[in-house]
Amino acid sequence: MTIVTQFQIQYYQFLNQLGQTTQDLPPFAQDASNLIHLYRTMVLIRTFDTKAVNLQRTGKLGTYASTLGQEAITVGIGSALDTHDVFCPYYRDYGTQLLRGVKMSEILAYWGGDERGNNFSSAMAKEDFSFCVPIASQCLHAAGIAVAMKLRHQHRATLVTMGDGATSEGEFYEAINLAGAWQLPIVFVVNNNQWAISVPRKAQTSASTIAQKAIAGGFEGEQVDGNDIIAVRDRVEKALIKARSGKGPTLIEAVTYRLCDHTTADDANRYRDKEELKKAWECDPIVRLKLYLMNNNFWSNSAEEELLGECSKQVEAAVHDYISTPTPPLEDMFDFHYANMPANLIAQKQMALTEGSD
């Protein structure tokens, strides 16, 4: 019996849940204005999120997946990504999208049942994928994008997000294995929010960390405190730099908690302990950063008040855009399937337009 190989998984945190530093902050975080920017974005996202849930409750939006409690991950990623990187999101990544210039009204259109929401007007997001619904399948698109970057010798990276549940899907592992085998410029970020609808993280896998799943692909996985935006941003940034410089993939497990229902179609009370939820609120990533900023006099109650007002305004404007956008025309259903629309589809479209008009 010989030991042929060994591994270890590390965990990163800078701010604990009281907003105290647990180690020296990385350079970017030593500039308070950077942290304030992150803070403002998280608050904006939460404002947006609250509003979106509300729109759904009042029948003005379809099923919506809230990102409550997970803002540090999605904003942290967005702030670490470079303009030329490509982002493959799953459906809770509003923070990243916002920082890539995707409009809130586009996100609302998406959940409002309108494909035009995926036609991002932002130049920065023009190569980004839209939300991926079939769990984990985006991992392979991201790998393919990274393959293209590698074949073209570009100094860019692809970042793909997914939930903890997604790590049970075969396509997740296939992407992990490929990323390792080909040393692709890719970063996998798992939003481990402890639940996949009603299935708790523990029931999903007996791996003690999600991070260790990277070992199957022969590359590094690590855990970060997903409620500490400094840790998220720092580790994601380092992984992106590594990827861009040809040093291969990284899997980052961001440990957090889904403070919301799975979606507006879900009722977490059916399966989730109220005590657990209550404790999880103590780790609220927004509160945490705010405590740090307040304790260090980088933030004030009046600044907060002003910010909330601004966020409301921005969100209301987006909602207005969304609500006042007319339903897409019928022909949109046909016009985007093919660059060269086949004759029989042209005929069907004509038929639909005729039938639709009676």
Binding site: G62, T63, Y110, W111, G112, G113, D114, E115, V133, P134, I135, G165, A166, S168, E169, G170, E171, A196, I197, S198, V199, A203, Q204, T205, A265, D266, R270, Y271, T327, P328, L330, D332, M333, F334, H337, N344, L345, Q348, K349, A352, E355, G356, D358
Partner: protein, 326 residues
């Protein structure tokens, strides 16, 4: 007796079989404490425990494939895919293994299982939650494919599917999960597989459909009475194998036919049925068969889904054009 919805009838059938056949096991994503995203498995975990009702990790090939191993051991797994659009990762297991295990081993190993999935559009759901995908499964030798259209048929056909010694893909039209209520005695009586149901007799035209579209079709048929047109309505119910006897008998009687389904036109099951009618009863046809179906496009996001799914006016227009043909 209380009246129940289609999804409650599914639940009732599952509970009945769990109670009466100890080999039956329910599995899938969120089928346990959550009772399934549509509540089809509500209460089953509490009543039958975690060895009969299994919440699985999130992986559909896994669900499809493990059910095969369980079935080969003599269990009768009833596996839920959470939505139609998430059956595809399981396609490899379904076609290459579930459908073939008996044949491959000359009957030594068998695969008595049911793959359940909510089917079709119309509930304002996100992308991939509204697929009309029965034609894929109905082309696979070794499978049965079943779609109920009422609470009573959901109950009776699901019982039959679970008891069938071979794999059954059981597609549940989610648009009518809660549309109507019916009193459905919980008597464990199955309905026959491999048979159509004639929902309404008529003399002038045969309307063939299945699943949720039976509702619009029945409405049209009733309205046709006022026009003096007597329409027969057939709910195909078992989509593989097709009960062509019932269909041909009807069309030979009426001489006219419209087929209605939600899935895309090209390669939809309507084509198969239409072709078989024309091949076997050509001389009985007094007019070309028409198909009223989804278009050859991906189910649009929900703002346009109503424009995609056949509606009563499209069905009526087709019926009128077939009736007017001379």
């Amino acid at each position: 007796m209380a009246e129940i919805t289609l999804v409650e009838a599914i639940n009732q059938a599952l509970a009945y079989e769990l109670a009466h056949d100890k080999e039956v096991v329910v599995l899938g994503e969120d089928v346990g404490a959550n009772g399934g995203v549509f509540r089809a498995t509500e209460g089953l975990l509490t009543r039958f425990g975690p060895e009969r009702v299994l919440d699985t990790p999130l992986a559909e090939a896994m669900i499809a494939g493990m059910a095969i191993g369980m079935a080969a051991q003599g269990l009768k797994p009833v596996a839920e895919f959470q939505f139609d659009g998430f059956m595809y990762p399981g396609f490899n297991q379904i076609i290459n293994h579930a459908a073939r295990l008996r044949n491959r081993t000359r009957g030594r190993l068998t695969c008595p299982l049911v793959y359940r999935a909510p089917y079709g559009g119309g509930i304002h759901a996100p992308e991939h939650h509204s697929e009309g995908n029965e034609a894929f499964f109905a082309h696979i030798p070794g499978l049965r494919v079943v779609m109920p259209s009422s609470p009573a048929r959901a109950y009776g056909l699901l019982l039959a599917a679970i008891r069938e010694p071979d794999p059954v893909v059981f597609l549940e039209p989610k648009r009518i999960y809660r549309l109507v209520k019916q009193s459905v005695p919980d008597n464990g009586v199955a309905l026959p597989l491999d048979k159509c149901f004639v929902l309404r007799e008529g003399q002038d035209i045969t309307l063939i459909t299945w699943g949720a579209m039976t509702h619009e079709t029945m409405n049209v048929a009733k309205n046709l009475d006022a026009q003096g047109i007597s329409a027969e309505v057939i709910d195909v119910a078992t989509l593989k194998p097709l009960d062509m006897d019932t269909i041909l008998n009807s069309v030979e009687k009426t001489g006219r036919c419209v087929i209605i389904h939600e899935a895309p036109y090209s390669g939809g099951l309507g084509g198969e049925i239409s072709a078989q009618i024309a091949e076997h009863s050509l001389l009985s046809l007094q007019a070309p068969i028409k198909r009223v179906t989804g278009y050859d496009v991906t189910m649009p996001y929900f703002q346009l889904e109503k424009s995609y799914i056949p509606n009563e006016s499209r069905i009526l227009a087709a019926v009128n054009s077939v009736m007017e043909f001379a």
